[in-house]
Amino acid sequence: MSWHEPLLALSPEILLTLTAALLPLGIATVNRRGLIAGVTAAILLVAAFLVLGTVYTLPGLGWLPQGPYVAYGALEVDAFSAFFKLVFIGVALLVVLGSPGYFRERHQPEYYALLLFATVGMMVVASANDLITLFVGFELASFSTYALAGFFKRAGDSNEAALKYFIVGSLSSALTLFGISIVYGITGDVSFNGLAQHAATIAGELGQPGKIDRIPVLDLFAILFLLAGFGFKVAMVPFHMWAPDTYDGAPTTVSAFLAAGSKKLGFVALFKVFLVGLAALKVVNVGAWYGWEIYLTLLAIVTMTVGNLMALRQDNLKRMLAYSSVAHAGYMLIAIAAAVLATNDPALRAATTYLIAGGLFHIVTHAIMKSGAFLAIAGVSSAGIGENIEGWRGLGRRAPFVAFAMAVFMLSFAGIPPLAGFASKFVLFSGAVQTYQLTSNGWFLALVIAGILNSGLSLYYYARVVRVMYVDDAETATTPMPRLKVPLSTTIAVGACLVGVLLIGLWWTPVIDFSLDAAGALMATGP
């Protein structure tokens, strides 16, 4: 291995880090919003191509080492990590595109630099090959977003958002770290492969005469702490309380970044730790109530139900989206819970891959929809309407394009075909159905039924937004309503999300194929 190979493999991260470091220094004097955003967006685009180049052979990028490839023993470059890196970069790109029109504070370069640092942190988590690297990336992303959430320095609720997010986030970091320390204490290893071997050994001895008959309590504690730590990030019930306040108070573009990007960070961690590192610890035969995968299943169901029920009652659109985000975390947890249930069974390998791919697919579509919805709110609220749903009355006339995009996002959230949200929900739920067919395990059926009922429930509040924008002004149709001036840059970003939702909905072959590749790569690193 030559010295420059790992550097090349990590070139996207390096590029972004350098840009982030140079932005405040170099362009600090050029206080032109559009220029800074443009440069950042261009660099992100380059980074995206570099990431793609590590997985697929692209013209002109042949010099990149092709994954799977481990750099310095700590950062793994494969289809799975590339998949998430692309999601993170994509979200950052959309947020950067949407920002100039909305975000007019001072300290422009710092804003974009923080966004880039957060993105790099997320990319490190996606690549991490051991728990320590994962934690470092986690913290980098977290600290950048704490600062971002409070970027409206003189607004009380922005400060509240940042503080709440920071305190809860610190606690979750502490929990994660404690979990990691327990794991290290037990196994003497922090790499995922080492963990997997340890877990496999325990699982192999379970139930054998003279050996242990259940998971050691200490292991369960480690699992619990890690789950809680990551659970905060993904806003899983009961660790979701911070999300509505933070999403509501933070600058809306930052909310988009948090909901669409940062939340997925927790999922990467969950995927890596639970599906690769600890998956073998699930117990099927011995003492049903010791099997923690059942609790994951319950958490998934509770999370989607609580999220949807709370969202029903929200009048503030950002809070509504926050709760819907909680609910969607529940849907994505289906993939993890069900994959844990099914994993390590060679007969179910294909089914598990499909299921994980469903989760990944949903993560992508959710990222696009959520960015789009939050950016639409950002655009409309910077035109002076506010974030309360009442203010959106008749938006169908006042800002036709943004209203249409918002309607599409809402229907896509609910899973109406032929939009992207339907496609990914389809793969996700069908994965659960398939696994139920193969195993006749009632928990899968419960997941499917809960998913269906929740989709019905969520349709109510999603349709409400559509109704307010298009239907409720029928009485006042005669009074002329002024057109809204939605900032151009935000409109472009929303338009990009709209195109994404429609395009993926109509032709999802490339995305699902990439998801399957990524899921396969994840399974390959497992035991």
Binding site: L411, F422, I452, T509, D513
Partner: protein, 492 residues
């Protein structure tokens, strides 16, 4: 085929009603040609096939094609959308959006009736909800918001259950390793005598599919969205809802559930019979008690759909295609007389501002043309020989007698009661002495507009033509239905 879909979708934003009419005429013309071609060659299986690979890694393809059963519904859809555009010629509230919603429904429903891939079928099926939701919630009556969202959520959840059934079929046929959503392939594994699926699997899948279809039908006890949706919907919406959207349920049952999971269908045949009879009796009783003309017509749809389900249950029980042909004929005939009645309810609404029987009476003197049309529609609904519905009812009941013996008297009772409520409604509304009632604004009394006459006349023509010449329809639907019924002869 694909061209129609794209064409109708692409032009929807145009403002004028003429554009809408012209656009809607294109699929009508094409589907008429297809109807003609299939009439010329009824036994040719699926014709006008289109095949595009869509999502190869999941085995999802865009497959379209029409056989006799499909084309009858296909043509009916194209016709009814055109007719409802004509009928709603004077829509003034956001006309461009209104017509574009009608055209979108056209696209969705045409897609449903021509899709030969379960996944594509589902996408069109669900997509039809969105324009219908807007039609009800923007142009509907006073309680429209509740009705629209109830319609939306009710059918959405049911469809998801159906989708789970589709998923199960896909995985059972191989899933990621060569599984298929193709209706033809899934049907043929059974038709060729290779029942690879266990009985209990078929029963569960049929149940899942039946939930989805039954809500759309709708049959008791999952019908409650229908009266709300109908009463609040604008007339054109009701026409489409009764004329074609309801048929999606029965069409799906015949096209998908019966041939793909026949053992499941057989397991549930007695239950289907019971549900059908319950729907009919329930509808009849409720109709007698209605005070609102439109609500009565809405409930009578449940009864008519009960007849369709009865025919299907009968065919499953005996393996004779008689009941299925009757059911298909009923779907077709109901697609004429029910929209016609809804149009007339719309006319009454426009004239009087109310549809309550108590506010009517003797209107035949004031609105002779409306009265004439209403008498005709009532006769069709009652099942007067010589009109289309009679043929359908006759076939269904003969088929049901073969299957269930003297139990058939229970549903036959419905026919008598239905005649009673139709005629009683007619009498209360139209005949007797014309007196001006309090609280009714007679200043808009105009009888019928010319464009309304055109729309109604088309319906009359359809009922008469297919009443006197049922062979035109029976000949094209019989071959595919015969093939479906054969399956049940083997295992029965």
């Amino acid at each position: 085929m694909g061209a129609i879909v794209v064409l109708a979708a692409g032009r929807t934003a145009k403002a004028a009603r003429w554009t809408a009419l012209l656009v809607s005429l294109v699929p009508l013309a094409l589907s008429s040609y297809m109807l003609y071609a299939i009439m010329a060659n009824p036994a040719g299986g699926y014709q006008f096939r289109e095949f595009y690979s869509w999502i190869p890694s999941l085995g999802i393809n865009l497959i379209f094609g029409l056989d006799g059963l499909g084309v009858s519904m296909f043509w009916l859809t194209a016709l009814l959308v055109t007719v409802s555009i004509v009928f709603a010629w004077d829509e003034v509230r956001r006309p461009n959006l209104f017509y574009s919603m009608l055209l979108l429904i056209n696209v969705a429903v045409l897609g449903v009736f021509s899709a030969l891939d379960l996944f594509v079928f589902y996408i069109f099926w669900e997509f039809s909800l969105i324009p219908m939701y807007f039609l009800i919630s923007i142009w509907g009556g006073p309680n429209r918001r509740y009705a629209a969202i109830k319609f939306f959520i009710y059918t959405f959840v049911a469809s998801l259950v159906m989708l789970v059934g589709f998923m199960a079929l896909w995985f059972a046929s191989g899933g990621m390793n060569g599984g298929t959503f193709s209706i033809e392939e899934l049907s043929s594994t059974v038709m060729h005598g290779l029942p690879s699926w266990t009985n209990s699997f078929q029963v569960w899948v049929f149940l899942a599919l039946f939930v989805g279809f039954a809500v759309k039908f709708p049959v008791v006890p999952v019908h409650t969205w229908l009266p709300d949706a109908h009463v609040e919907a604008p007339t054109a919406g009701s026409v489409i809802l009764a004329g074609v959207l309801l048929k999606m349920g029965s069409y799906g049952l015949i096209r998908i559930a019966l041939p793909i999971v026949p053992e499941g269908a057989q397991f549930f045949a007695p239950l289907m019979f019971v549900i059908a009879v319950l729907s009919m009796i329930y509808a009849a009783v409720i109709c007698l008690a209605q005070r609102d003309y439109k609500k009565m017509v809405a409930y009578s749809s449940i009864g008519s759909m009960g007849i369709v389900l009865l025919g299907i249950a009968a065919a499953v029980q005996t393996g004779s295609s008689m009941g299925l042909v009757g059911a298909a004929f009923m779907m077709f005939a109901h697609g004429f007389f029910s929209p016609m009645m809804f149009m007339l309810c719309g006319v009454l609404q426009h004239n009087l501002g109310t549809r309550e029987f108590a506010k009517m009476g003797g209107l035949a003197q004031a609105m002779p043309y409306t009265a004439a049309f209403l008498v005709f529609a009532t006769m069709a609904g009652v099942g007067l020989p010589g009109l289309a519905a009679f043929v359908a009812e006759l076939q269904v009941f003969v088929g049901a007698y073969e299957a269930f013996g003297y139990w058939v008297f229970l549903p036959a009772l419905y026919l008598a009661v239905s005649a009673a409520y139709y005629l009683w409604a007619l009498k209360r509304a139209m005949f007797g002495k014309f007196t001006r009632k309090d609280g009714v604004d007679y200043s808009h009394l105009y009888d019928v507009h010319r464009f309304e006459v055109i729309a109604l006349a088309v319906m009359v023509a359809g009922l008469v033509v297919y009443g006197f010449w049922p062979k035109a329809l029976v000949d094209i639907v019989a071959p595919p239905l015969e093939a479906i019924a054969t399956v049940f002869r083997g295992v029965a």
